[in-house]
Symmetry: C2
Subunit: 151 residues, 2 copies
DNA sequence: TATTGTTATACTCTATAACTATA
DNA sequence: TATAGTTATAGAGTATAACAATA
């Protein structure tokens, strides 16, 4: 947890200073610009795994739209859905931060880990990630030992 | 990062629901109650590694004090320092959450990892943690590739 | 002058609930 | 009735800068 916390802090600083992006904003942008085939995704698909509430995504996507880095338009397929699309400016911004972002990752995390360590870590954590994705996130909620102090 | 994020989210939920503690508050309490010999530490030592700003610690310690879980008193040795001490109520609260906390850790993280995995992970990450602690946290700041958009 | 800690302030982010609209 | 998304709102947490006091 300490490693992840320090890494995240370092990453957030670089993203903020180099491109004025929050961590979530960067991830949304990266998902659109690097993973999404046509540079667009439905809000829900975009949110997947990045945010814990719908409104949180609306908020962050709104900021990206205000900054001109994405556009939002109703989907032709399903009129309930909104397609979020990365703009040219968004791709530019993403390209601008990416090298520095990778630098931070490498210097803080990948270098001390070494190539072998990186692979070992990935093998170790992949099943954990799958387990976490699969299990109901509320399991922790139901299984408390002590009664809440409210009653 | 995803594993750490999900784990932290699960942990935070349990801490909040079982004992009305934030993650940081729990860590402060744990450091005082489990690590500190006499249950007390100077503010600065208490903060070490848990918080990224002094005021952040003052805020969290203030909440703990309000809740009667710690006390704050000037240090006899150095009158600039404040000794934070866990109270009986604080130890009780800590004892109340701890079992559930460990449950969450085990179910989300330790179990899917397995005993061997836990050890392997610890060996892998220990040097990374040391590297991160040692290297100036601002390295990311100075090493930016793109000029900040301000000027 | 450097260190310890607090305060004032402003801001970012998150989450819940109520709501609209489409399927 | 369920799904997609927004909005209103409220609260928690964080950080910066200015500050007071001690070393």
């Amino acid at each position: 947890m300490e490693v992840a916390g320090l890494l995240r802090h370092g990453v957030e600083q670089q993203l903020r200073e180099a491109a004025d992006l929050s961590y979530v904003q960067f991830q949304l942008l990266a998902r659109l610009g690097l993973d999404a085939p046509a540079g667009s995704l439905r809000m829900t698909d975009l949110a997947d795994g990045l945010v814990h509430s719908r409104s949180g995504l609306t908020y962050q996507a709104g900021l990206l739209e205000q900054a001109g880095l994405v556009t939002r338009a109703p989907s032709p397929d399903d009129e309930r859905s909104i397609m979020v699309t990365i703009t040219a400016a968004g791709r530019r911004r993403l390209g601008d931060v990416l090298p520095g972002h990778v630098d931070v990752l490498r210097e803080m995390f990948l270098a001390p880990l070494g190539d072998e360590g990186v692979h070992a870590l990935a093998s170790l954590l992949a099943p954990v990630r799958d387990h976490m994705r699969a299990s109901p996130p509320r399991s922790a909620t139901r299984r408390r030992r002590t009664a809440p102090p409210e009653g």
